[in-house]
């Protein structure tokens, strides 16, 4: 059936097979797949970008989905203006939160708007004026939930918002 080669040929073949594979692995395959680049050539060829793009995709998908650990979000309310920062949550999902400003108190309304609603209906969970607040809530319905902050002062105010739980970030609505 198959012809047998000489021992010398076999040894040469085996060694060259391994050497070629090792080079391919180290310069192309490992950098592109796993961001492992011992020679730096993968980086120069732009292959490590492939592995890094894949990594970024998976982590950013995770953070928008909601976490077991607090996620910190920075929001700035311009002087004399109000903003909304919202999260998409299904019914009976829970969010635990803490937020604080640099000292300036803000009027806020933590509320939820039902998904698909066209009447403008919303339900307020907490309304107050303060510079820091913490607590948690469980949504009564599916929809967009979060804060309306009003800055009545004449300077912009930064808010540090920390959230954790089951949500997807919608973000700022001006």
């Amino acid at each position: 059936m198959q012809h047998t080669v000489s021992t010398k040929t076999l040894v040469k073949a085996s060694i060259s097979a391994v050497v070629v594979a090792a080079i391919a692995l180290v310069t192309f395959i490992l950098p592109a797949e796993y961001n492992i680049d011992p020679t730096g050539i993968g980086n120069k060829l732009g292959l490590t970008a492939l592995a890094q793009a894949a990594e970024v995709e998976t982590t950013s998908l995770e953070t928008t989905k909601g976490t077991d650990e607090f996620q910190t979000i920075e929001v700035t309310v311009p002087a004399g203006r109000g903003i909304e920062y919202k999260f998409y949550m299904k019914q009976h999902e829970k969010m635990t939160y803490e937020w604080l400003t640099d000292g300036v108190p803000l009027y806020f309304d933590l509320h939820g708007e039902p998904e698909g609603d066209t009447t403008g209906y919303f339900e307020s969970y907490v309304i107050a004026t303060t510079n820091e607040m913490k607590g948690s809530y469980t949504t009564p319905f599916e929809g967009s939930h979060g804060w309306y902050w009003k800055n009545k002062s004449d300077k912009p105010v930064s808010i540090q918002l920390m959230v954790k739980g089951q949500y997807e970030v919608i973000g700022l609505k001006q």
Binding site: V5, T9, L10, A13, A17, V18, L25, E33, I36
Partner: protein, 227 residues
């Protein structure tokens, strides 16, 4: 000219291509698998066929197996051994929800490619004065190939409803894909065998096959140890 082209095509089959890095289940397939309910015979048939045609590690092994098989009867026999092997473990693996590490299995599949290239060079007779039974080898490696197929399907929680029918459809699809790929491979290798270069370049080709097997093994083992 044809010599060069045929040689290049066969060599390319043995070298890793960029597209081949996606070996696994692509995103559209994944979305389908996760959302489907009940019996979806043709879709699973198609997915099985597509998986085999793009399954370069399975194909490389097959190329190695049929490389020196000149009679249709032999080709049929060995391919049947491979089919029995991988079908058994594909069905068994998915139905019994067997838990094997996909990277390890794929590394073994890579090793099967090294084995076949080495065997085609007469390596076992030369080094160990012993020729492992090639039919048994194809059957046993076929079992591992099947586990590899199973792990890819298992990555998704498949609906229990209609699972057996869908699984059979997938298996059937794998065989159809294998048949199609094999037809192409056989046409090319038979054309090549008519040329004197076949004997001369068979050594280089099987060396390239071994090399591809090492790359495969390295790729999968790296995944096992880093991810």
């Amino acid at each position: 000219m044809i010599k060069v082209l045929t040689y290049l095509t066969i060599a390319l089959l043995a070298l890793v291509s960029i597209e081949a890095f996606a070996h696994g289940v692509d995103d559209k397939t994944r979305a389908f698998l996760e959302q489907n309910n009940g019996v979806q015979f043709i879709p699973f048939l198609y997915i099985g066929a597509k998986h085999m045609i793009t399954g370069y590690d399975h194909l490389l092994f097959l190329v190695g197996v049929i490389f020196f098989l000149y009679r249709s009867r032999d080709v049929l026999l060995y391919v049947t051994m491979f089919t029995i092997g991988h079908s058994t473990t594909l069905l068994f693996g998915v139905l019994s929800d067997i838990q094997v590490n996909a990277y390890l299995i794929d590394a073994i599949i890579g090793f099967s490619v090294i084995y076949k290239g080495f065997d085609n060079l007469g390596g076992f007779k030369l080094c160990f004065n012993w020729q492992p039974n090639t039919q048994w080898a194809v059957l046993i490696f076929g079992l591992f190939h099947g586990f590899g197929l199973a792990t890819k399907l298992q990555e998704f929680s498949l609906a229990d409803e209609g699972l057996i029918t869908n699984l059979i459809a997938f298996n059937l699809g794998v065989e159809l894909g294998q048949f199609a790929a094999l037809a192409l491979i056989l046409i090319m290798i038979n054309a090549w065998r008519k040329l004197p270069s076949f004997q001369r370049f068979s050594t280089v080709t099987n060396t390239a096959l071994m090399s591809a097997g090492v790359m495969l093994m390295g790729l999968q083992l790296a995944g096992y140890f880093t991810i």
